[in-house]
Amino acid sequence: MKHLLSIEQLSRAEIESILDRAESFAEVGRRDIKKVPTLRGRTVVSLFYESSTRTSSSFDLAAKRLSADFVSVKAAGSSVEKGESLKDTVATLSAYDPAAIVIRHPYAGAAQMVAGWTEAAVVNAGDGKHEHPSQALLDVYTLRRRLGSLDGVRIWIVGDVLHSRVARSNLIAFAKMGAEVTVCGPPTLIPRGIEELGCDVSYSLDGIEEAEVVYALRMQKERMSESFVPSLREYAACFQIDTRRLNPRQLLMHPGPVNRGVELSGEAIDSPQSLIAEQVAAGLVVRMAILYELLAGGGASTPAAEGEGSQPTPIGTSA
């Protein structure tokens, strides 16, 4: 795997391989010294054209825990404000010979474009309404740890599906892992034809009791140029997940940041069935696994690379 641009590009086996690796990085995080030398001397550049807390901080820390050098460029405060184009910015950063570029951009397909302009491995950290693959991987990781497997698990994705790259990536990832997904929200916020991605559609919360997992989405006020709902209050009245609508056996997830009192009630966020904090913790180890997969993945492949025994080859050979 050269780049991580979308969940669509990944097979179930590839997803599982990344998640298995994330498990071993979780062990690194429990040590006193939470750092391994794997990517020593490599450079990871992050280029964020949109604001972010979780994604950018966790990629930053993930790179550092792998001993890579990390440079973060944010559009605000950089030459992007002087009108530098994406292509020129990427060319500039590529001059540092980075091993990876992590990019977030408001336009769908931006990461794909960047991949064509640079030698570095490109990680899509969110491109417009298209995809956010690392989020989907960390969500699958979180659920897999809780439930063991996603096969046959019923997941409802509730809220602003139209503007949500998380919804797209997660829907695809959950389906690939064998879950049965329903998307739910007001008709104006459900893209037409989304059933083709392999999910059911519901325009009300009726029937949500069948779900084992409720995945709420953020109302993306910044992407709403027209009114999709009469008011946030009315949206909350119809679609807010609160402890009354959530039964105690259901798990609650949200990609963050949460609009408290809009898509989730404060009580629901802080309830024991909420996995929101676990999702953030998973973000770090899954992003370590992604960087490892892209930058070091090939390195661990050759059984005889070090020449000594115990490299896992089928018959236990050691050249």
Binding site: G298, A300, S301, G307, S310, P312, I315, G316
Partner: protein
Amino acid sequence: MNEKVVLEHDDLRRTLRRIAHEIAEKNPNAERLAVVGIHTRGAVLARRLHVFLGELTGSDLPIGDIDISFYRDDVGAKAPGSQPVVHASHIDFDLSERTVVLVDDVLYTGRTVRAAIEALFDYGRPRRVQLAVLCDRGHRELPFRPDYVGKNLPTAREERVNVRLEEIDGTDGVTISEETPMEVTQ
């Protein structure tokens, strides 16, 4: 492919038992000992040594295993291909003031041992590190010398040393085989 048997099933067990005796002899203060195996087959050997050492010393020594994938010196240097599953390391005891016996199946260039020692030091500061290997096949590229050797195997670089263990491979034994140059990646 021509395979020459160098250790049979019973030889391998006797060899391990002898190594356990040597470890016990060299470390009279057994309560300070710990055994750490290097994944995958070193970890299996460590578990077996741990049982023998328990019988010899009468104490239940701490045991751990370590995966060196994150510490390799050739990360990213090889072409992408099928990747081994990276195992999590398990060292859930305090290393400080202990003599740690690192266990691996084959000692060759010494690069795995270097990586394992580096990994070990991320868990703590052992008082002493000793190295036990089932086979030493020579061709060292780093200045390591094992403290306990099951069998010295003079080999050519083109040859392969195959260690098979019941827990993984269904049978115990060590063989040397010829490799066609194409398959030798060293």
